[in-house]
């Protein structure tokens, strides 16, 4: 598991700095000026085998002031629709808070979808082909001893079988009583997403889809296993990398995280975010 290995490489640098105790981090302020104006698109088409009329959601927002600590401005008044390969149009209805939803989309594995957005006189577009995902074979709880970087406690583990004949990219979302569990942790890029380069075709046992989340008895934990395209994987990898800086000199340099959203009106005024189409597999477990 390449990314797992690399995860610990990153950790060890932190470790060295911690060990030698000479490192100190202080909160500081710097003058940042006005935030730039960019549309942020979080677009997801998700399909579970055997289901119909799942609710699809496209979230639109913009960039906010870094130090203001308020919800970033929502992008309202947009016209949002998705077309499929046979040019069927599915309109997404605005929910006032930057969410646009649709429940009539019919998904098919390997079908190509196009997202269209008209917002403030600019037209945006993104194309993605739906990716398949293997099912979660087992879900269960496992107690993990703590160490310098991970909390001790009950964690959720899954087994799944990676298909041998294709390249697979995974993204896991973990929910506690329907609430998404995620922290801006440097380890995310090697934990909640993964590629199968070093375990292609193997059965993976006891994978923690979220190493940061510790659960209590009674919690209903749901894991969503999402099949990503390679492009989407690279996007999320970069996103989690940029969100999980440690301040150490081994950090990768800051860069803009570019996804697949194209501005047709003015290409230089690019939008952020990604539009993916994925098969998902869900499993739940109640912590004992």
């Amino acid at each position: 598991m390449k990314k797992l290995i690399i995860k610990y490489i990153n950790i060890v640098y932190l470790l060295t700095l911690v060990i030698f105790l000479f490192s100190c981090d202080q909160e500081t302020t710097v003058d940042l000026g006005e935030p730039v104006q960019r549309l942020v698109v979080e677009g997801r088409i998700e399909w579970t085998e055997g289901s119909t009329n799942q609710q699809q959601e496209i979230k639109l927002s913009t960039i906010g002031d870094f130090f203001e600590n308020q919800q970033t401005p929502r992008a309202v008044g947009a016209e949002v629709w998705v077309t499929d390969a046979t040019d069927n149009r599915y309109d997404f209805e605005e929910q006032n808070d930057g969410q646009y939803i649709n429940e009539s989309l019919v998904q098919l594995i390997y079908e190509t979808f196009v997202l269209h957005i008209l917002w403030e006189g600019q037209e945006f577009q993104a194309i993605e082909t739906m990716v398949a995902v293997p099912p979660i074979d087992n879900i269960y709880q496992q107690f993990e001893e703590g160490n310098l970087f991970e909390d001790e406690g009950i964690k959720i583990a899954i087994d799944f079988t990676d298909p041998a004949d294709e390249e697979n990219f995974y993204f896991w979302e973990t929910f506690r009583n329907d609430e998404l569990q995620i922290l801006p942790d440097p380890g995310n890029k090697n934990n909640i997403i993964s590629q199968d380069e070093f375990f292609n075709g193997n059965q993976i046992e006891g994978y923690f889809p979220n190493e940061e989340a510790v659960f209590d008895p009674g919690d209903v934990v749901t894991v969503k296993q999402i099949g990503l395209s390679e492009n989407a994987y690279i996007y999320y990898f970069t996103l989690f990398d940029q969100a999980g800086k440690t301040g150490a000199l081994i950090d990768t340099p800051p860069i803009p995280v570019r996804g697949n959203i194209l501005n047709l009106t003015n290409p230089r005024n690019y939008a952020l975010g990604y539009f993916y189409a994925a098969e998902i597999s869900e499993a739940s477990h109640t912590i004992e």
Partner: protein, 789 residues
């Protein structure tokens, strides 16, 4: 080739002309220990012609028949003078007597020399391990690479970074040689300390420019470290204990005045303290230096030296990581005739790392190494007066093993191995040193050849483009592989042939002033691919080949050198301009570890740097030290391939990670009395370039800082003061034992100098984003005990 022929003709003419002369040659040694002295000045007083001893301590001067005063001088030693009646070739080995240990009075008897004015060399600095030990250091651990960073235009990307940057060059552009063996990673503990034990070191010299033609393979600098040979006269030892490590050295004769050995070791013990505190984690380093030599007769001497350094990090039961350099050098010095000196070397060098991942279910090991075998021959032919010719040949065989992955403890990780890469690097050089009145000239060239060989299977990319720009997604992507080309064992894949001219001029205005100029072109065939701010031990060394062109630099420098008050003060002002082509840079989001097609992750760009360096040094008296100030700029440009693709920062020039507009450092050592000495250094520098966010947005349940162009902002100004005091133990009559205590205070006024400023969402308070500055080394006291026996 033509140029070589001209050179040969010139040399032959000189040889004929030189027939009426006689040559005085030999070695200059430390009279107490028998160590060869590098760079000692040997002068024929009446003629005003002289030479300096080479890196093996050898000199030769050709003079017409006559009677002369020979004068030999070296810093820290008494001047040697002898009347010579020259009427035949003579071998004259000279033992210099060290300045008497100055116990009663602090009159430093050494005559200051004007070498910096009169020698045709610029942009170089030498350090002795004594100076290194006198400079205040983090946790009292004397450190060569940290010490050289106090010199003009040698910087780093932050406290505790691996590697250093010279005149705006990248960290992989420094050739670090330990007894001629290449050291690939100069850092211990990820950059807290350098990999070289200062006790074992005789001489350190760094070339920032005007690099002689005998060196090649890196663009920006040469750090040439020579280990001690070992005391030829008697057994002795030294050592030290600091808060971080313990070190010891023992040396002595094998056969008195004929052969000797030196063995030195160092180990950090931070891990022992941690273990005592009940942690199951560990981080330590150790290194071992060995050297032995034997003088077969007056004409032949052989040396065997070795270095072994290693770091180990482990996080109890989850992970362990080790890396290190190993080098071994066999050398044979032969005085072929009075005029011709030869050195033959065979060198082995290995840099390797391994990472053990012990996480349940994924137990595995990644290992990687670079092995170099090197043979070389260097010759120095001494002509009339100061004129001489240096020439030589050099051949290296490289084997790169980028990564091998093996399962551990029966895990279900698939074993795999990336393609091994093979290359041969050859160099041939000739350099002529001439004196014409007040003008000293060094003119030479190096011819370098680099050949990538099989066996290897290389991918064929569509349109021969390993990296393509996706205009739809606006990013760089791996090129499409359309086929594979197989190369058999030893079969040539790609070849590069390059000339590297080097010129150095000195015009001596008078005993106290000179003007110097230099030009050098360098090629570099190995590239360190790193996508972090500072290199890490697990970065990948990639050789040039089908997809990666060699890097090239041209550097011009001009300087004015001036000494004052009978050479008590030396000052210099140098300006330089350096142009670099084909510097490698990674694409945004590059995946470099265990990647078999590293060429798909990199772009190539150009660099330029220019600046002025001012250096003032006080050599004698109770107070010694130096002030160095640099005004410089270091920039990079990465253009796009074409349509829609704008490169990095729209293809504009932008500041490198190590660009410092102003950089001032002051180092002073004050001898208070015969027991106490005080030293201090102060550093004031512009903040390094940084990238601050243009706002933030919410995505996938977390908050992401949004960045646009690289390095458009700046960290706060860096400044720091360090002090230390050394107390020598009272000398006991007749006893050799000497000890000294060093008390230090690093970062006296506890300045929190930002190594970086980073922007993250608070894990405890989702939705709240903050900026943090990360700093290493607040105020910290230290104590070290050094001893000799």
């Amino acid at each position: 080739m033509k140029r070589t022929i001209y050179l040969l003709v010139f040399v032959c003419a000189n040889l004929l002309f030189a027939q009426d002369n006689y040559t005085i040659s030999g070695y200059v040694k430390d009279g107490n220990t028998g160590e060869d002295l590098i760079g000692a000045t040997v002068l024929m007083k009446e003629l005003g012609t002289g030479n300096i001893t080479n890196v093996y301590g050898f000199y030769a001067i050709s003079v017409p028949q006559g009677s002369y005063t020979l004068e030999v001088s070296y810093v820290g030693f008494q001047v040697f003078r002898q009347q010579l009646e020259v009427n035949s070739n003579q071998t004259l080995n000279i033992d210099l007597a060290p300045d008497t240990e100055v116990m009663e009075e602090i009159v430093v008897t050494t005559e200051a020399l004007n070498k910096n004015v009169s020698v045709n060399e610029m942009s170089t600095v030498s350090l002795t391990s004594k100076t290194v030990k006198n400079i205040p250091a983090v946790l009292g651990e004397p450190d060569i690479i940290r010490s050289i960073q106090l010199l003009p235009v040698i910087t780093s990307v932050g406290d505790g970074s691996s590697g250093f940057n010279v005149r705006g060059g990248a960290a992989d552009q420094n050739l670090i040689l330990l007894d001629e063996g290449v050291i690939f990673n100069s850092a211990h503990l990820l950059g807290l300390y350098s990999a070289i034990n200062p006790d074992a070191v005789k001489d350190v010299k760094i070339y920032k420019g005007g690099i002689p033609s005998r060196y090649g393979g890196r663009l920006s600098s040469v750090l040439d470290v020579r280990q001690k040979e070992g005391n030829l006269k008697e057994y002795s030892g030294e050592g030290g204990v600091s808060l971080i490590s313990a070190r010891a050295l023992y040396e002595g004769p094998i056969v008195k005045d004929k052969g000797s050995f030196m063995i030195a070791g160092r180990r950090s013990y931070g891990d022992a303290i941690l273990r005592a505190l009940g942690e199951s984690n560990t981080a330590y380093f150790y290194d071992l230096n060995l050297k032995t030599n034997y003088q077969i007769n007056d004409k032949n001497r052989v040396f065997l030296s070795g270095y072994f350094g290693r770091d180990e990090l482990a996080l109890g039961g989850i992970f362990s990581n080790g890396w290190g350099n190993t080098t071994g050098t066999f050398r044979w010095n032969r005085v072929i005739s009075n005029r011709l000196f030869a050195n033959l070397s065979a060198i082995y060098s290995n840099y390797d790392y391994s990472i053990d991942n012990l996480a349940t279910g994924a137990e595995s090991r990644i290992s990687s190494n670079v092995i170099t075998y090197n043979v070389k021959a260097d010759f120095a032919y001494y002509l009339q007066g100061e004129n001489n010719l240096e020439f030589g040949l050099d051949q290296k065989w490289y084997t790169f093993n980028p990564a091998e992955i093996d399962p551990l403890m029966g895990s279900n990780i698939t074993a795999s191995k990336l393609d091994e890469k093979f290359a041969v690097e050859q160099g041939a050089y000739a350099s002529y040193h001439a004196e014409a009145g007040n003008l000293l000239v060094d003119v030479g060239t190096r011819f370098s050849r680099f050949v990538r060989t099989g066996s290897q299977d290389l991918p064929i990319y569509e349109n021969n483009a390993p990296v393509v720009y996706n205009t739809f997604l606006n990013r760089y992507e791996e090129g499409n592989v359309v086929g594979t080309r197989s190369y058999g064992n030893g079969k040539k894949i790609k070849e590069f042939n390059n000339w590297e001219p080097r010129v150095g001029l000195t015009y001596v205005l008078n005993q106290e002033q000179s003007i110097k100029a230099s030009y050098n072109r360098m090629y570099q065939y190995l590239h360190l691919i790193s996508n972090s701010t500072s290199p890490t031990p697990v970065d990948v060394w990639a050789p040039s080949g089908e997809f990666i062109d060699p890097q090239m630099s041209d550097q011009f420098a001009v300087g004015y050198f001036r000494n004052f008050k009978n050479n008590a003060y030396e000052a210099s002002l140098e300006v330089y301009y350096k142009d670099i082509q084909n510097m490698v840079d990674y694409v945004d989001g590059a995946d470099i570890i265990a990647n078999n097609q590293i060429e798909t992750q990199i772009l190539s760009g150009n660099g330029r740097s220019y600046g002025a360096e001012f250096y003032l040094k006080k050599n004698t008296g109770r107070l010694t030290g130096w002030i160095s100030y640099t005004l410089s700029r270091s920039e990079r440009q990465v253009k796009g391939f074409g349509e829609g693709d704008t490169g990095i920062n729209n293809g504009d020039w932008y500041a490198t990670n190590f660009n410092k507009l102003h950089d001032l450092s002051i180092t002073g050592i004050y001898e208070l009395n015969d027991r106490w000495s005080l030293s201090g250094n102060f550093i004031l520098a512009s903040g390094l370039p940084s990238t601050f966010p243009e706002g933030r947005y919410e995505y996938a349940g977390i908050v992401i800082p949004h960045f646009e162009e690289r390095n458009q902002d700046q960290l706060p100004t860096y400044h720091r003061l360090d002090l230390s005091a050394t107390l020598k133990r009272k000398p006991k009559n007749g006893k050799k034992n000497r000890g000294e205590w060093v008390f230090g205070l690093y970062n006296v006024y506890n300045r929190i100098n930002a190594n970086s400023i980073y922007f993250i969402e608070d894990e405890e308070n989702p939705g709240e984003t903050n900026a943090f500055k990360s700093a290493l080394f607040g105020v910290n006291p230290n104590i070290t005990y050094n001893f000799k026996f």
